[in-house]
């Protein structure tokens, strides 16, 4: 893309470079430098704030990003990261009391956004059955006794905000908002 000028094209030398003490052509611009230093100090302040927020987890993967929601009837509790990062692994942990177990199994409905937006990779424990149901997936987990825990590994596939929902059929749903950063 570089162009070369013909050898015959010339231009007289002009005294265009700013001088120091009227004798030394340096081309410095003290006014610009002063403004730049002020800008730099603002940027440093922003960088410090950014790192502190990062440590706190405001941009995901820290205490501030973690959230916990409970269904209004106590049928399940969801722990998740409300701020996640594109392509970075995360966990959605669902705990449920013994009252949510019926006939030796737990049925858990999750919205399809868990797969579409958050890219659910795997679920632990392995469900006995999973079927497409009402814009989501209905999992059935065998339960021997008491309360339990289901974990979804996620890896967000799209940037931006998305809503995920969980619920035990016939009981209250939990809606969680997740924001995925680039």
């Amino acid at each position: 893309m570089a162009t070369t000028s013909a050898p015959s094209q010339t231009k007289p030398v002009e005294d265009s470079i700013a001088k120091v003490n009227n004798e030394f052509a340096v081309g410095s611009d003290p006014e610009f430098q002063f403004r730049w230093e002020r800008f730099e100090s603002i940027v440093w302040a922003i960088l410090i704030i950014f790192v502190l927020l990062s440590v706190a987890g405001v941009f995901g993967r820290g205490p501030a990003a973690k959230s916990r929601l409970q269904a209004s009837d106590g049928s399940l509790q969801v722990e998740y990261e409300r701020v996640q990062r594109f392509g970075a692994p995360s966990l959605v942990r669902i705990t449920f009391p013994a009252s949510s177990v019926q006939n030796g199994s737990l049925q858990l409905w999750v919205s399809e956004s868990l797969i579409k937006a958050l890219g659910a990779q795997r679920v632990i424990p392995q469900p006995a059955e999973s079927k497409i149901d009402n814009q989501g997936i209905l999992y059935t987990f065998p339960v021997t006794t008491g309360s339990g825990l289901v974990e979804f590994s996620t890896e967000p596939l799209s940037i931006g905000s998305s809503q995920i929902a969980f619920g035990v059929p016939g009981k209250a749903n939990v809606q969680a908002k997740v924001f995925v950063l680039p």
């Binding site: 030394f24 410095s28 610009f32 430098q33 440093w44």
Partner: protein, 148 residues
Amino acid sequence: MAAVFRAMAGYYFLVFMMRIAGRRPGKQMTPMEFILVFFSGGLTLTAMVADDRSLMNAFSQIATIALAHYILVVLRLRFPVVGRIVDGTPLVLLEKNKWRTAMMKAMQIQDDDVMAIARDQGLERLEQVEYAVLERNGQISIVPVEEK
């Protein structure tokens, strides 16, 4: 498509961060600054490549960076203010036996950095330096006192 944007964002972000983090490359580069440059480059690379290790991704990202660089060069040539933002301007550090202390402090340069360059030019004492200028590429230029 995302790889192209990632490459472009990575390039401009690195240019900006290197401009902010200091101007001491070239001869004045210390081991600490080598770490800054290479570590930053390596970390940017991880996000740019992501999980796409294909040759096509490498080609498209290299082409993008070349294009991003060319755009910056053209803008720098066409608009002097872009040049000042990207490269800064030469800064006088020493002028007729007087240090510009505020500038030295802002640029984190000490008198022995200047003396090191002066020695390189065969000068033995700082009094033999008429002007010392921190250039845009991070090197220090020395103008010796004219012998009368």
